[in-house]
Structures are given as C-alpha cells and as structure tokens.
C-alpha cells in the first residue's frame, strides 16, 4: 500500500500532551507517519492516549510540544487549513440533534464548502451505502447506536477528506454493522484516503490495517505490520482448558504444577467463566477472529489441530481455529475452572503430560481449545494484563 515517492499524509513527530493539572503526559513523545492510502491502527489500553492523539491531529486539543502535519498542513500552525484536509469520527455520538440525519450530512458538507447540488447527491448516495436511506428524515433521537455510528461515518465521508480519523468506529456494534463499516473503510483506503483508526477489536482489524502502532502511557511500544507483530510470537500458542476440579481441588496448586510442565510459559486462571467471551472485560480471543491473519472462518480441514485420539477425559470439543469461544453451553462452562496456558511449543505434544497431571489430581478436563497467537495476544504481551 505504501507508495514510494509521495510524502506521507500524516506526519507525527515527538508529539507531547500534558493536560492542565496533570502530573503525567497523556501523550509522551509519539512519532509515526501514515502514507496515502494506508490504514494505520493505533492500538492501546484504555487511557493510553489514543483519543488525545486523535484530538491533537484533528485540532481539537492543543499539543504541549511536537509537530503534526496532515495532508501537508501543519496542524499546530494552521489548524483551519488542517481541518479542510481531514474528517473525524469521534468515540462518542456528536450528531447534531437539532437536525435530521439527512441535514446532518448536508450541513456538514456545507461547512466544508461542498456546493448544494453536489452535497445533495453525495448525501443520497451515502445514505444508501450506509443503509440509512429509509430513515434519513427521522429524528436523530430515534436512532440506535449502530445507526448513529453509520451516520457519523457517512458524515465524515461526505466532504471527501484526505485523511480520516476513526476513534473506535465499531465499538458496541453488531457483527453486521461491524462488517459494513470495515468494508466501507476498506473502500476509502482504495480511494487513496489515509485512515488512522483506534479499536479494541484488534483481531477484527488485523486483516484490515496495514500497520499497527501499539501505545501505552502515551508512548509507542511497537510499530509494524500485523503479520510481523504476530510473527514475533511465532511458535507460541495458547491452550485454554476448562477443568472440573476434584473434591479437594486447589486451583493455585494446579496452576503451579502446570507451570512446571516443560513447554508451558505461563499458566493463569481466567475470570468469569460463565460469561460469553465477548462480554468479558478485555474479551480475550473473543471477537471475530475470522478476520485475523491465518484465521479463515469456521474450523475446516486444516483449521483444527489434530489431537492424539483417545484422550477423551471429558469433552474435547471445539478445537481449532476460528471457533468462537462463546459457543459453550454456559452451564457447563460455569461448572469448570478456566485455565489459560501460554505455550512455547506445539500444543499437541503437551496435551499428554497435561492430561496425566490433571488425572493425577483427579481433575476432569471438560473442554480444550487451541489457538494461534493473535494480534490481541501480541497486545497483551506488550501491555500486560493489568487494568488501567
């Protein structure tokens, strides 16, 4: 995607933001560039400084120091010129509630100097493409979260910006809407628009973004393509076990024992087993792995890893890639303790020793699943487990 010879459309250099009355920098020396027609993912835990960065680049927040150039215009020196280059879809709904959805598009276009006939035809077209044509003249208050989000993205596109900023564009949306939105973002990229997006649905976004910058505490931890980032964890996979402990079962003792097994890098208990993964905080390995690198939809031939046959202590179900975690009947999940093992070797080779260890402790394995590291695992590896 990166086209040689053309200057980047977004240049961020040593950007720093310290909010008044704050002890620390919300953004702390951030530097990156985005090429024309590139999708750049800015990933980071809550409070990492993503929205602040977008705020600075879109002229709403004044940087403490550093430099940012959007579409050839210095954001700090010429904010008005910069605004003509960009569009932003913020994290919160900021639609104009005094106007109808269609008027939201029309007025936004007018604010950016798009002529009347042009903006009317673009509005019709966008309403159609975002599936809002039949609701274009309703009240905004009657819009659901997903409709509002689609309208905000349509609004951002109507003046045809050179750079598009999306702050968590698919947050809280159903899979259909998410797919529609990722699809539209893709189309924008193909039109040469540079896109900077933040999201917590990393595995969704992994197939879409060209490069990823992971930030934490306002600093860039790493910057690379999703493929390279995942490759950095090569050979490592994750084994999720659901275990029914014996009468005197002690999870901590079990975890300690599991850590002793050679090839296990880390063993940890997963919280809140009864909740579908997507609703757990952090949602490990939950959302739409189908779009992650090397994950192709439902488990098919070559998708699942062969397990040694006859290991059936309990139900060895749902093995394989792309299987959604939330498919367990929740009653069974509730019955077990969920343990995640981070492996340094092939999981198939470890199942034997692990099963022996479990049956020695009269713990019953009720569910096993194997997964390849995903972008989200890379993320956890880099930023740790702690809540912000």
């Amino acid at each position: 995607m990166t086209s040689r010879g053309t200057p980047p459309t977004v240049e961020v250099d040593q950007l720093v933001k310290r909010y008044p009355k704050s002890e620390v920098n919300a953004v702390d020396g951030l530097s990156f560039t985005v090429e024309p027609g590139e999708i750049f993912g800015l990933f980071g835990p809550n409070g990492a400084g993503k929205s602040t960065t977008i705020g600075i680049l879109t002229t709403r927040i004044r940087a403490t120091s550093g430099r940012a150039v959007i579409g050839g215009v210095d954001v700090l020196r010429d904010p008005v010129g910069a605004r003509a280059q960009l569009a932003v879809v913020p994290q919160h709904n900021n639609l104009d509630r005094s106007l109808t959805p269609r008027q939201n598009l029309l007025y936004h276009a007018a604010y950016h100097g798009v002529g009347r006939r042009e903006r009317e035809s673009r509005a019709d077209d966008l309403l159609e493409r975002f599936g809002l044509a039949d609701r274009a003249d309703k009240r905004i208050e009657a819009y659901s979260g997903g409709m509002a989000q689609r309208l905000m993205i349509a609004r951002a596109l109507i003046h045809e910006p050179a750079v598009l900023f999306l702050d968590e564009p698919t947050n809280g949306l159903d899979p259909q809407t998410r797919l529609l939105i990722w699809n539209r973002i893709h189309q924008m990229r193909d039109r040469g628009v540079s896109i900077v997006l933040t999201t917590h649905q990393m595995n969704d976004a992994a197939g879409l973004v060209d490069r990823v910058g992971v930030v934490d505490h306002g600093r860039l931890l790493t910057l690379d393509t999703p493929t390279n980032l995942v490759r950095s964890l090569a050979g490592r996979s994750i084994l999720d076990l659901t275990v029914a402990l014996g009468p005197q079962g002690d999870v901590d003792a079990l975890l300690t024992a599991l850590r002793e097994v050679s090839g296990v890098r880390k063993a940890e208990q997963l919280a809140a087993p009864a909740l579908p993964a997507a609703r757990r905080p952090g949602g490990f390995g939950a959302n739409g792995r189908a779009m992650g690198p090397g994950r192709g939809g439902p488990p098919g031939p070559g998708g699942g890893r062969g397990l040694p046959p006859g290991l059936g202590a309990g139900r060895l179900a749902a093995l394989g890639l792309g299987a959604a975690v939330g498919t367990l009947p929740s009653a069974r999940a509730r019955a077990g303790t969920r343990i995640r093992l981070h492996l340094a070797t092939d999981p198939a080779a470890l199942l034997g020793p692990i099963l022996t260890l479990l049956s020695d402790r009269s713990a019953n394995l009720t569910d096993v699943r194997v997964s390849e590291p995903s972008l989200e695992d890379v993320f956890i590896e880099l930023t740790g487990r702690g809540l912000r």
Partner: protein
C-alpha cells in the same frame, strides 16, 4: 459516489486540498442556527413574551386600576420591557443551548471541525443571539401596546431605539456565551441566575435613571449595569420629554461594553473548544 481508480488516487492527496472561503463556511454555520431558530420560534416567543407581558399586565392594568401606580407608568415601563426582552432573549437563547452543546450532546463539535477560525463560530452564535433578541424586542413592542392599550410612538426615535436594542441584544448574547463557556456546567443554572437576576432588576427597566437621585448609592450602582443604558436609550428614543441619560452616553457605553463582551465571548468559547 463514483469509484475512483485506486492507482490514480494517491497522487491527489499529496498536495494540501484547497480550503473553502471563510465567508462560505461562516454562512453555512449561520444558516444552521437560523434553521434551528426558525424551528424553535414559538419556544422563544413563550420564553421571552410571557414574563414581560405579565409584568406589564400587573403593573399597568391591575395596579393602575387600583390607583397604586399612575397612568403614565406604562409609558415609562414599556421601553424598559422592550430593552429587557432584547437583552434576556439574546442571553438565554444562546447560553443554555451552548451549555448543552458543549457539555452533553457535543453537537457543536461538527461546527468546530469546519475550516474556519474557532472564534468565528462564536461570532456566528453572537449574530444569531442578536437576531433573536431583536426579534423579541420587535414582537414585544406591539404585544405590550395591546396589553396596556397604548404605547409611546415616535417614528423619528425608532432608529435610535433599534440601534440601542441591537447593542443590548449583542451584549446579552456576548454575556450568555461568556457565562456558558466559563461557568462550571454542574451548577450552571444557579450561577446563571446569580448573574442575570441582578442585571435585570438593577437595569432601570421600571424607572428612569435620573429619578434615582433620591437614592444616590443605588443610582451609582445602576451605572455599572449595561442594562441601564439599554433601558435609558430606548426610553430616551421613545419618550424624549422624560428625563433620561443622554443617548450619546448610552451608545458610547453600550458600544464599549459590546466590544468587551465580544472579546470575552470569543475567548471563553475558544478556550472551551480547544483544550
């Protein structure tokens, strides 16, 4: 939307895009507020019309009939009511929506992202507030006359009255924006009342300023209230025979105050808009 050839597209983005003219963008922002004003016209009418009309009704029709106030009181009072309507409409119709737009719905953000200086968005708000204030004054004049049954009428005084009312509305709008953007939003209602109520009641709406000479300390206090000059300016224009502050003094003070509130409004607004 036409599909653009992906290979040709990147070249487009290397040069900064032309920005639309400031006037075009400013007018679009203004048009949005005008549209909303049009939609809310009846709200504004009720908001502004009711209190002054009831005041007129009580002070003139009721108290007048009882002989508590003289017949000529309504003539003194109506110019004050016109001034009050202009000032408070402009203030209220910009302050509360602005608090909402900045604090809760964030709907101002789309206009803040328009390619014009942020200060001009504030000026746009000020223009709309002034228009609303003027509208209120123009409506309250005949309505008041209907309630009272008569009204001072002096065509040659109208230009001065209009100018004073315009400045009064502008000041009300400026003050409204300033307060809405600098006061803490959690307590906006109470703080707004704390500022606005004294302005209304010490603004010489009910009485000509020169007659306050019997209470010298109060006469001095009222001089610090811009509302005084709006009331006096309108009264002087419609009732030149009643003693009043010189129109030139009124216009001079009001122009100065308008300039100051414009500056504070733009400053407060910009500070709020850009963190």
């Amino acid at each position: 939307m036409t599909v653009v050839d992906a290979t040709a597209a990147p070249a487009r983005t290397t040069v900064a895009r032309p920005r639309p003219s400031t006037a075009t963008v400013f007018l679009a922002v203004l048009r949005r507020d005008l549209l909303v004003t049009g939609k809310e016209l009846w709200v504004i009418l009720v908001q502004v019309g009711l209190t002054p009309l009831f005041m007129l009704f009580v002070f003139d029709t009721i108290l007048g009939a009882q002989g508590v106030v003289g017949r000529s009181f309504a003539d003194l009072f109506l110019p004050g009511i016109i001034a009050l309507a202009a000032f408070t409409t402009a203030l209220q119709s910009v302050a509360l929506p602005l608090v909402k737009e900045f604090g809760f719905t964030m709907e101002i953000e789309d206009r803040l992202m328009a390619p014009i200086p942020t200060g001009l968005v504030a000026v746009g708000k000020l223009v709309i507030a002034t228009i609303r204030g003027l509208l209120a004054a123009v409506l309250i004049y005949p309505l008041g006359a209907l309630v009272v049954g008569s009204a001072p009428w002096r065509p040659e005084g109208l230009p001065q009255a209009l100018l004073v009312v315009l400045l009064g509305a502008w000041i009300g709008g400026g003050l409204g924006i300033t307060l809405a953007t600098i006061l803490p939003i959690q307590r906006i209602n109470i703080t707004l009342s704390l500022v606005v109520t004294p302005i209304i009641w010490t603004g010489c709406i009910h009485y000509p300023w020169p007659r306050l000479s019997t209470i010298p300390w109060y006469q001095i206090v009222t001089l610090f209230n811009p509302m005084t000059y709006v009331s006096e300016g309108v009264r002087g224009a419609l009732l030149p025979t009643v003693p009043h502050i010189s129109p030139w003094a009124c216009l001079a003070v009001l122009t100065a105050v308008a300039a100051i509130t414009t500056a504070t409004a733009v400053r407060g607004f910009t500070r709020r808009a850009i963190q």
